[in-house]
């Protein structure tokens, strides 16, 4: 063998050793990488008061709602992209502000003032432009609404919840009748369906919207002394009987007024069930916990310490849509479902999963803190509002439970 030819030893040194080093380095780095993206201590809602991350995240939203020009620009962008996002960002922000006010009384005046601006602006838009202003275009294009006159449980439920949350922090003149009227409308319509659910879109009842409505009904009972306990118990019995996916035991996402699974959401979906099980905590804690446990088994995943949620269970895969948001191939990680999973993990004190989900958000959300505001570039105002809610939730439902126990 001459000096130019490679011996086995030199080949090993040139190619094998670096390849083995890269392989070993990968094996070492991938499982430890998540440590560098873990949320700081005290970020979770078990923390007393309002965490610095929540304050920073809230600051941007507060700016949007206190600066008219910025508000108009941001809301126009949201409306153009997805009118539902505009509406939902309002609801989650009001819920967040109310929780922040209960956590830290120094927030109370600001929280109430901004909540009032949001609620009144939303009601004005609903009056002037109708419910379609906040609904996706197909609300007016597809088949007729089964229940007449047409109303959307998506709109009614979230408006009722916003008003109820605001009133739990501090009572406000005029809001009582606004809430009781809407609760009456919602329950009347829900009772007309064999599955006790009202439609959000023509002949589409969504678990997400009906679970929010149930929470609003429960809060109104606490606030005004009304009693819908029979109705709520009947809803849970009906849901267990008619709305559970037989393969997974998880509530399905969308169904017709008669309870038939709808093509839009015939199976459980992360974007519905995570929030629904949180809202059901106000209705039936045991059922809610069981749904969370099952949903976590079917949809909750982690990859080298980074948590995420699937949109659909493995047993009934679906197709990417406006609700699921982008779905990462292979892992089937859904951005929207993962965002809402943070709410559920927080609500059910599932700190390991909560921390894993926030690690993923820190990795792929592109957070940026500037001028005392925190923004996730890969997110949008509704995503940020959902995250803010997951960081501060707890006191509002706690307050409701406390008053109910009294």
């Amino acid at each position: 063998m001459n000096s130019r030819s490679y011996s086995l030893a030199s080949l090993a040194e040139k190619f094998l050793a670096p390849s083995v080093a890269i392989l070993l380095a990968t094996v070492l780095w991938l499982p430890t990488m998540h440590i560098f993206y873990r949320p700081a201590e005290g970020v979770g809602p078990s923390h007393q008061g309002v965490s610095s991350q929540a304050r920073l995240l809230a600051a941007r939203h507060l700016r949007i709602w206190t600066e008219p020009a910025l508000r108009e620009r941001e809301l126009r962008k949201m409306q153009a992209r997805n009118p539902e996002w505009d509406f939902m960002s309002r609801a989650f922000l009001v819920l967040s502000l109310c929780n922040m006010a209960l956590r830290d009384p120094s927030y109370q005046k600001q929280a109430c003032d901004i909540s009032d601006v949001i609620i009144e602006n939303t009601l004005a838009l609903e009056r002037e432009k109708g419910m379609h202003h906040f609904l996706l275009g197909y609300a007016g294009r597809t088949g007729p609404w089964v229940m007449q006159p047409a109303r959307s449980q998506f709109i009614d439920g979230e408006i009722a919840l916003m008003i109820a949350a605001r009133r739990l922090v501090a009572e406000k003149d005029g809001y009582k009748s606004l809430l009781t009227d809407r609760i009456r409308l919602m329950t009347e319509r829900m009772r007309k369906s064999p599955v006790l659910c009202a439609e959000s879109y023509p002949d589409e009842c969504w678990l997400f919207c009906n679970a929010i409505s149930l929470a609003a009904i429960r809060l109104s009972d606490v606030l005004d002394g009304s009693d819908h306990s029979q109705f709520l118990a009947q809803w849970v019995r009906t849901a267990k009987d008619k709305l559970i996916d037989p393969q997974t035991g998880v509530l399905i996402s969308a169904y017709g007024v008669d309870g038939r699974p709808s093509p839009a959401g015939y199976s459980p979906e992360g974007t519905s069930i995570w929030l629904a099980c949180h809202m059901l905590q106000l209705v039936d804690k045991t059922f809610a916990s069981e749904q969370y446990r099952r949903a976590k088994k079917e949809l909750g995943r982690s990859f080298f310490g980074f948590g995420y949620s699937r949109e659909w269970p493995e047993s009934s895969p679906g197709e990417m849509d406006i609700d699921s948001g982008p779905v990462l191939p292979v892992l089937n990680a859904s951005a929207s479902a993962s965002g809402l999973a943070i709410v559920a993990a927080s609500a059910f004190d599932d700190w390991p999963y909560f921390s894993q989900l926030l690690s993923s958000l820190n990795l792929v959300g592109f957070p940026e803190e500037t001028k005392g505001q925190l923004e996730y570039h890969a997110s949008n105002p509704v995503g940020d509002a959902v995250l803010l809610y997951s960081l501060v939730l707890g006191p509002l439902f706690g307050e409701a439970k406390g008053r109910a126990d009294q």
């Binding site: 000096s3 050793a17 070993l24 780095w29 982008p326 570039h377 890969a378």
Partner: protein, 105 residues
């Protein structure tokens, strides 16, 4: 063409000086890190909002947004691997050298 032998580097004890292996790993790491830092300082992080689809971005901004995302993942995922690999390679080489030196002639 004849190969020119590299003059041996010697340490103060007259032994061959330790030669770092896998220096290209450091080179790649520096290149990726410097490029990422450049993008970061230029403010292209803002364009990662291309992922949320809420901002009306031009085609150049979208391109820069995606380029930033790729560089970010290379910086976060690949650069540490290259650095760890460099360390492992040289740690192994150093240990091997020490063992050879300590062997009786």
């Amino acid at each position: 063409m004849s190969e020119r032998a590299r003059p041996p580097c010697r340490d103060s004890d007259g032994r061959d000086a330790f030669q770092f292996k896998g220096r290209r790993f450091i080179g790649y790491s520096l290149f990726l890190s410097a490029t990422f830092l450049l993008f970061r300082l230029a403010g292209f992080r803002e364009y990662t909002s291309v992922l949320s689809g809420t901002e009306a971005l031009g085609s150049l901004q979208r391109f820069l947004g995606f380029a930033y995302i790729i560089l970010y993942f290379l910086f976060a995922g690949v650069v540490p691997i290259l650095l760890i690999a460099f360390f492992l390679l040289n740690a192994a080489s150093f240990i091997k050298r020490r063992l050879l030196v300590s062997e009786p002639e």
